[in-house]
Amino acid sequence: METSTVETSTLALSAVDASSRRSFAERYRGFLFGALAVVLFFAAWQAIFLIVPFNPLFMSKPSLIAAGFVDLIGSGDLVHDLAVSAVPFFLGLFAAAIVGVPLGIVMGWRVRVGYALDPLMTVFYASPLVALAPLFVIFFGVGVAGKAIIVFTLSVFPFIFNACAGVRAADHLLINVVRSLGGGERDLYVKVLFPSVLPYIVAGARIAVGRALIGVLVGEFFAASEGIGYAISRFGDLFAIDRMFGCILTVMAIAVILTEGIRWAERAAFPWRIGQ
């Protein structure tokens, strides 16, 4: 049995190989065009300031940023700041997933819980919660706890709302199937609701990552003595615009890597979704 299955899948793979024997440019068209736009953006930036004179106290250009970036790496400051910021970022994000997903699933499945919590959660999700950051710093201090709580507050809502939407979109037929085969409430959660919701959670995680980054940066803008947000605001205060941009571009790169990483992980983790 095993062997025959393996053989079929190898056959299927080689068939795909044959049909996709296209040129490199054709295959990576999407990526190439995207990369071209990024390169052109930086080239244009550089070109403008080759002609237009500028005050390096207020503006910078890619060549200077690159030099500053090399300095930051060489001194080890950037790596240190990133490591410091990573702790509250991942703690807050992890806690948000742990709390948000079950809460969202229950909100989606238990109609009355949904009615009760929906308005409140919507208010929180829609409002600019970063405004509360100073309050959290007063309550929980400038250390990991304060920042992690800001991150949590910002990133928990995408998990809640996406899990909730996932449950509401779950195929009712599958619920009937499990019920008819003798499954109870717990089985519905484990065998139908949670797997139905997983892709929605991944989509929520991509939004949450963006909001969590904002949380870390804002937390460190307000009160910190280290961390990437602190570095950005300090270089700004010192008019070291090249280094400031170096840090900002690093954060942007990390944001892209994390959200794209999640997208890639989704494809690897949920093979059944490929055909849908």
Partner: protein
């Protein structure tokens, strides 16, 4: 003497939140013998699928008596299993794990589950596809999985709610032949809901025609064609006269 499956005066009215109440079944009576293959045909919305869901235990009737083997039906039970029109396979489970679903819910040990699933995979002709996901299967194969999942519960009664309606005509014909083979081997009582009169005649011992909503049994036809049924029987004069007779009973109930 109560019949194997016996329904008496089963009534059900749906009360949707934003519309008026809909009477789905009105004083519905049914008697099914053990081991029988009974088909139910009727106009759309006549309550035939609703009745299967009541028998399955997913819907409670407003009033009336419904029993299996003399035992009143109060909820889902492992003596009944349903094959659904839209298959109802869990997309994140392989063929093997879909077939094992009901056994898992019954807390059957893994080794025994695997043995049962392996036997059923062969019975429904899916050998070699155990590790495939539903999206990799054709409609006919999906419904074979649906059938295997129901049979894995080893139910006394197999409920089939338009199981082949989502399949193309040729696949449907083949699946009918397969179903008769499996029915012969598994020896189950089958209640089969369909819109197709041919299908009902070809498969069944008896065919019940239901009235339009609120549904009740209008007439029951005994199908005296010999078994095993051959595909050629579909073009025999007896088959066609039965088909006409059933159609004449059914057509007054259909509103377009």
């Amino acid at each position: 003497m109560t019949a194997y499956i016996q329904g008496r005066n089963v009534n059900l009215t749906f009360r949707p939140p934003n519309r008026g109440p809909v009477r789905a079944l009105s004083n519905f009576d049914i008697d099914v013998e053990e081991g029988e293959f009974l088909s139910i045909v009727g106009p759309s919305g006549c309550g035939k699928s609703t009745f299967l869901n009541i028998l399955l235990g997913l819907i409670k009737p407003d009033s009336g008596e419904l029993s299996l083997h003399g035992k009143k039906i109060t909820g889902p039970g492992s003596d009944r299993a349903m094959v659904f029109q839209e298959f109802g396979l869990l997309p994140w489970r392989t063929v093997q794990n879909n077939i094992e679903l009901g056994l898992e819910l019954k807390k059957v040990p893994a080794a025994k589950r695997r043995a049962i699933a392996a036997r059923l995979v062969e019975l429904v002709g899916l050998g070699g596809f155990e590790a495939h996901y539903p999206h990799e299967l054709s409609g006919g194969m999906k419904q074979r999985v649906g059938l295997a999942r129901a049979l894995a519960m080893d139910p006394d009664v197999l409920l089939m709610d338009e199981p082949f309606a989502a399949l193309d005509a040729q696949t449907r014909d083949l699946m009918q032949v397969e179903l008769l083979r499996i029915w012969r081997e598994a020896k189950k009582t089958v209640l089969f809901v369909t819109h197709q009169i041919d299908e009902a005649i070809y498969l069944s011992d008896r065919v019940m025609v239901m009235s339009k909503r609120p549904g009740r049994a209008k007439k029951i036809f005994a199908i005296k064609l010999p078994r095993p049924r051959e595909y050629e029987m579909r073009v025999m004069p007896e088959f066609n006269s039965l088909k006409l007779e059933i159609w004449n009973t059914l057509k007054d109930e259909i509103a377009i």
